[in-house]
Each structure stands twice: as C-alpha cells, then as structure tokens.
C-alpha cells in the first residue's frame, strides 16, 4: 500500500467521521415516503381517504346522538370529513410528509453533503 492511497483513505475516514459527528439535518423526510412502491402508495391513499370519511361520519353520528340534531350533524360532518380525507390524500401524495396544517414555503437549505 503506497502513501497516496493511505492518505486518501484517511481523508475519506475523517470525512465520514465528521458526517457522523455533525449529521446533516437537512434530509427531507417526505422523500423517504415518496420513494415507496406504487402498491404501497395506492393502499395508503385509500386508507387516508377512508379514514377522513369514517371520522367525519362517526363524529357526525355522535353529535346527532347527543344534541338531537339528526340528520344534520351527519350530513355536515360527512362532507367535512370527505374534505379532510381528500386533504389527507393531497398531503400524503404532495410530498408534504403527512403533516396536518399548511407548511410555509421554506427556502431550500444548502445540504452539506
């Protein structure tokens, strides 16, 4: 092993070490989700949509039951729940990382690697 390659190895190692000590925080979490297979995405979209509608209907029925407003609670909350379901799907697909609430546009952080 000559000196040159030894130096290179050392340099690569110190780079690795530095990366390990100061892990970059800029890695985008939503990318890992977008990278999954299509079947997974399809399944996820279905679940997200159904979950929104189910929660809306459930809450609507509860409100109707306790406040005696049948059927208006169910009707209103069904539509709101559907909208929430669509919003969930939009967030899951639109690389927004599933978060509730709007994200303000962040300027791209310069990544260190």
């Amino acid at each position: 092993m000559n000196d040159q390659s030894h130096d290179d190895k050392l340099k690569a190692f110190s780079q690795k070490l530095e990366q390990f000590e100061n892990p970059s925080t800029s890695s985008d979490s939503s990318e890992t989700i977008a990278k999954q297979n299509t079947l997974g995405i399809g399944f996820r979209v279905g679940v997200e949509l159904a979950a929104g509608i189910a929660i809306g209907c459930g809450l609507g029925l509860l409100i109707d039951h306790y406040f005696d407003t049948s059927p208006w609670g169910l009707i209103v909350l069904f539509f709101l729940g559907s909208a929430a379901g669509f919003l969930n799907v939009y967030r899951a697909i639109g690389k927004m990382g599933y978060s509730v609430g709007y994200k303000e546009e962040k300027p791209n952080q310069p990544s260190s690697d």
């Binding site: 999954q36 929104g52 709101l80 909208a83 929430a84 969930n88 978060s99 509730v100 609430g101 709007y102």
Partner: protein
C-alpha cells in the same frame, strides 16, 4: 377445511381464564404473543449487548443495527429536539416489528392483525403527540388548525376540516398496519388451503405461490413497522415545530 380467518380468533389459554369484577381478563393467545414479543426484544437487546465487544458478534450486530436504524430515523425525521422521544419510538418499533415477525412463525398468533391492538398503539402516539404539542406550545397549539394566510371567511370551513384531518391520524395509522397484516395472513391461509384441497400434484402451484408470499409477508412485516415508526416521528416533529 379450516377457515382462513380462524387464525385470528382470540382464545384464552386453558387454565388461565380469569374474571375480575365481571370483566374477562383471561390470559389469551394474543396476550401470550405480546408477552413473548416483549421478552424476545428485551433479550435480543440486552443479552446480545451483554459483553459489548468492540468487534460485534452477530447478535450484537443485529441489536446495534436496529438501534442505529431508529436513532437515525428519529434524528432525520423528528430533528434534534425529537431525540428525547427516542425510547418511546424505539419501543414502539420493536413491539410492532416483533409482533409482525413472530406472527410469521407457523401456529403463532399475530397480534398486530387485530385493529384494537394497532388502534391502541396509534391512540398512544396520538395522545403523546397532542400532549407534546400542548405542553410545548400551550394555547398556541391551536394555531396548528389555523392555516396561515387564509382569509377569515374561509376559516369556519377550513378549521373543522383541519381538525378532522388531525383526528383521522390515529385511524389511518392503525388501519394501515392492521389491514396489511390481516390481509397478508388471510392470503397465506387461503393459498395454503388451495394446496391442501388440490392434492399432491396440483397443490404444488399454490405451494410455490405461498413460498413467495411468505417472503413478501416478511417484507411487509418490516415495511409496516417502518412506516408506523416513521409516521410517529413525523407527527412528533409536527408537534414540536408547529410549522
């Protein structure tokens, strides 16, 4: 022929069926496999790390890989402030992963294929995330449901939608895990049933499919544990940062 969903039946283990104040608190097959998962993960993470040698043995390597995998996931997805919650996230990951993987052993029971188990886990995440948000931000947490830069006359519609979207998190989190596990195990059983009823010669084709499905199911077991954990990290990040 056994029904494909017979495997999900919860039975008390004979001799361990108790009642307390009118409630059935039997030690069931589900509870048994949960206990086994806890024991197995504790053993895996303590016994294999016992010597903590610099050159890791195989088991130590497994334990270190799992630990680092989740540590990096928390670091990348929940940020520096989220590191506090690493023990919770790691425990959750190990419990789900071992539930999924132990379920692959023939004659075992997959507790993650029951919606009540996954819903309890998801509810735990949901309550924790909400608590983190309220403790860290107090009343300001409610701004979570008010998108910035929206005209006030849209608020009456948008805020309920945001709240419903937030409430649907535990549902989608739990249904995803439960449906994947249940569908996979039912499929395995259906194809196994084909093998039995078609006899030795023609039964080989469903058997071959089943071999592939077992591999696929192990992939799904990892994937779903991963997805469950990464979403927990993202939710924790949301609660910490409040965008």
């Amino acid at each position: 022929m056994a029904s494909p969903i017979e495997q999900f039946e919860i039975k008390p283990i004979s001799g361990l069926d108790f009642t307390l104040l009118g409630y059935d608190i039997s030690f069931t097959n589900s509870a048994l496999w949960m206990a086994l998962a806890v024991i197995a993960s504790t053993l895996l993470l303590t016994a294999s790390m016992g010597r903590g040698s610099l050159v890791p043995s195989r088991w130590q390597n497994v334990a270190e890989m799992l630990y680092e995998f989740i540590a990096n996931m928390v670091q990348d997805n929940a940020g520096q402030a989220g590191k506090k919650y690493f023990p919770f996230v790691f425990t959750l990951f190990m419990f789900v992963l071992l539930g999924n993987l132990l379920g692959m052993i023939p004659y075992s029971f997959t507790y993650t294929s029951h919606i009540i188990v996954t819903f309890a886990l998801a509810m735990m995440v949901f309550l924790l995330v909400t608590l983190i948000g309220i403790i860290r931000h107090g009343f300001h947490f409610l701004s979570f449901f008010v998108p910035p830069g929206v005209p006030f006359y849209v608020m009456p519609i948008l805020v309920p939608i945001e709240i419903l979207s937030y409430l649907s998190r535990p549902v989608s989190l739990s249904v995803r895990l439960f449906a994947n596990m249940m569908a996979g195990h039912t499929m395995l059983k259906v194809f196994a049933g084909f093998s039995v009823s078609l006899g030795v010669v023609f039964g080989l084709a469903p058997l071959a499919i089943n071999v592939a499905l077992v591999g696929f199911e192990i992939l799904v077991a990892f994937m779903q544990a991963y997805v469950f954990t990464i979403l927990t990290c993202l939710y924790i990040k949301d609660a910490i940062e409040l965008h």
